[in-house]
């Protein structure tokens, strides 16, 4: 049976109807048509479904949409400000970190959560923060370089 829930998606407060078995991933892709969030495995292993909930990365394939009630969800579509890309998005382009792009939304969102907390992470810290996302193109080196390049410069 469908039930209404209220949640914030990319800074917009909205009411949606969800079934108990609807995952947050299904709500985002099928319900809201925000298809930047991907499904790889559907089982928590690949990380391509990662979105931020209250600023923290979670696997949206393993979270019920009902559990997003009252919370704030950020998907890759929520990062750019108008025509201006988020510094991480720009950096991924500049560094050639996007190959097929399937993992990029999850990589960028995981990196955002990291940089919001630790603006100058070590390479080890970056690797740990991204360890839950698989890049089937093997673009890891450039992804790490892109995160490093997007880290705000010390003034």
């Amino acid at each position: 049976m469908k039930k209404p829930i209220e949640l914030t998606v990319n800074d917009e407060l909205m009411q949606v109807e969800v079934e108990p078995q609807t995952t947050l991933l299904e709500l985002i892709r099928d319900g809201l048509h925000l298809t930047g969030t991907k499904e790889g495995c559907g089982m928590g292993d690949c990380g391509t479904c990662i979105v931020l909930v209250d600023g923290k990365p979670v696997n949206s394939c393993l979270m019920l949409a009902a559990d997003a009630r009252g919370r704030s969800v950020t998907t890759i579509e929520g990062l750019a400000k108008g025509a201006e890309l988020h510094p991480l998005q720009q950096s991924f382009i500049d560094q050639g970190a996007v190959q097929c792009g399937f993992c990029s939304p999850a990589m960028i969102l995981s990196a955002k959560a990291l940089l919001d907390e630790d603006p100058h992470p070590t390479e080890e810290t970056i690797k740990r923060a991204l360890s839950g996302v698989l890049c089937r193109c093997g673009s890891y080196k450039k992804i790490i370089a892109a995160v490093q390049a997007a880290s705000p410069k010390e003034s």
Binding site: Q21, T23, V58, N59, C61, S131, G132
Partner: protein, 294 residues
């Protein structure tokens, strides 16, 4: 898309209500915490609960606090990420923060709860060996009231535990560690992130005034049908010193006390050999954390 089959669903606001719903539905109801285990098994079709009772709208179950009587009480819904960063945990039981850092990936740790790790009762559960060496207990509540179950007697087989039907874990409690003691968890996966433990060993050592071992505890993940204690190795260590040969001999004994399985991740012989390596490392690391603490 991998979808979940429909199920009835409740979000009780109190523990009492949750228990009442579980009792009413019977054995096909399941408790939902973080969902990182249950939802995966539902998608695989391994389990088909008729009703999910989501605990996450019950207030206060995610608290990590120090009770007046001492020790630490970790609410069942505390996430693995919360344990990894809790200042209280880092100060009193660093081994738990260390073990938390091994579980899954950062995004899995945001969802996964401690109660779910214990409640699933997998022999591979990464939080359990450290909890066992710290002498933790499960606080459970059901229709007939509240009880405390020592973790040592909680696990009954792969996926099986001492919980009665409709009983809910509310917290995991850990007593204060002895003054001169240290603990460490070491684990081996096929890769560093995102794989369940091929073998995991937690060790704790408590010293007496003369510097000999007053008490040793060794607990192992993925080494048998339940998380195992290496009681022979523990007995061997107690009363003696911390010389390297003694730790190595204890590790050899611990490996002999395991009954691992062969599966796609590793064969039993390899696991047993790795127990010896990891048990030594865990003991050596426990000695180090003790020295640091003093």
């Amino acid at each position: 898309m991998k979808r979940l089959k429909p199920f009835a669903y409740r979000e009780p606001k109190t523990l009492r209500e949750a228990i009442r719903i579980l009792v009413g539905e019977g054995p096909r109801a399941a408790t939902l915490a973080g969902g990182t285990d249950l939802l995966v098994r539902m998608k695989q079709g391994v389990v088909t609960p008729s009703l999910l009772v989501n605990l996450k709208r019950i207030k206060g179950l995610d608290r990590i606090q120090r009770p007046k009587a001492g020790g630490l009480s970790i609410g069942t819904l505390s996430t693995i990420a919360a344990l990894e960063r809790s200042a209280l945990v880092a100060k009193r039981y660093p081994v738990l923060a260390q073990a938390a850092g091994f579980l899954g990936s950062p995004s899995i740790r945001q969802l996964a709860t401690l109660g779910g790790n214990v409640g699933r009762s997998s022999p591979a559960a990464d939080m359990v060996p450290s909890l066992v060496v710290l002498k933790a207990s499960v606080i459970a509540e059901g229709a007939s009231g509240k009880r405390e179950i020592p973790l040592d007697t909680f696990f009954k087989g792969p996926g099986q535990n001492a919980l009665a039907p409709a009983e809910i874990i509310t917290a995991i409690v850990v007593p204060d560690a002895a003054p001169s003691s240290g603990a460490a968890y070491v684990r081996l996966g096929r890769r560093e992130g995102m794989d369940c433990a091929l073998v995991g060993v937690a060790a704790s050592l408590t010293l007496d005034g003369a510097g000999s071992v007053a008490e040793a505890r060794l607990a192992m993940a993925s080494c048998g049908p339940v998380p195992l204690r290496a009681r022979g190795a523990e007995a061997f260590l107690s009363g003696g010193g911390l010389a390297e040969e003694r730790l190595r001999e204890a590790a050899r004994l611990a490996a002999g006390e395991t009954s691992p399985i062969s599966d796609m991740r590793a064969c039993a012989d390899y696991r047993r050999e790795m127990v010896e390596v990891l048990a030594y490392r865990a003991l050596a690391a426990a000695v180090q954390t003790d020295r640091k603490a003093r």
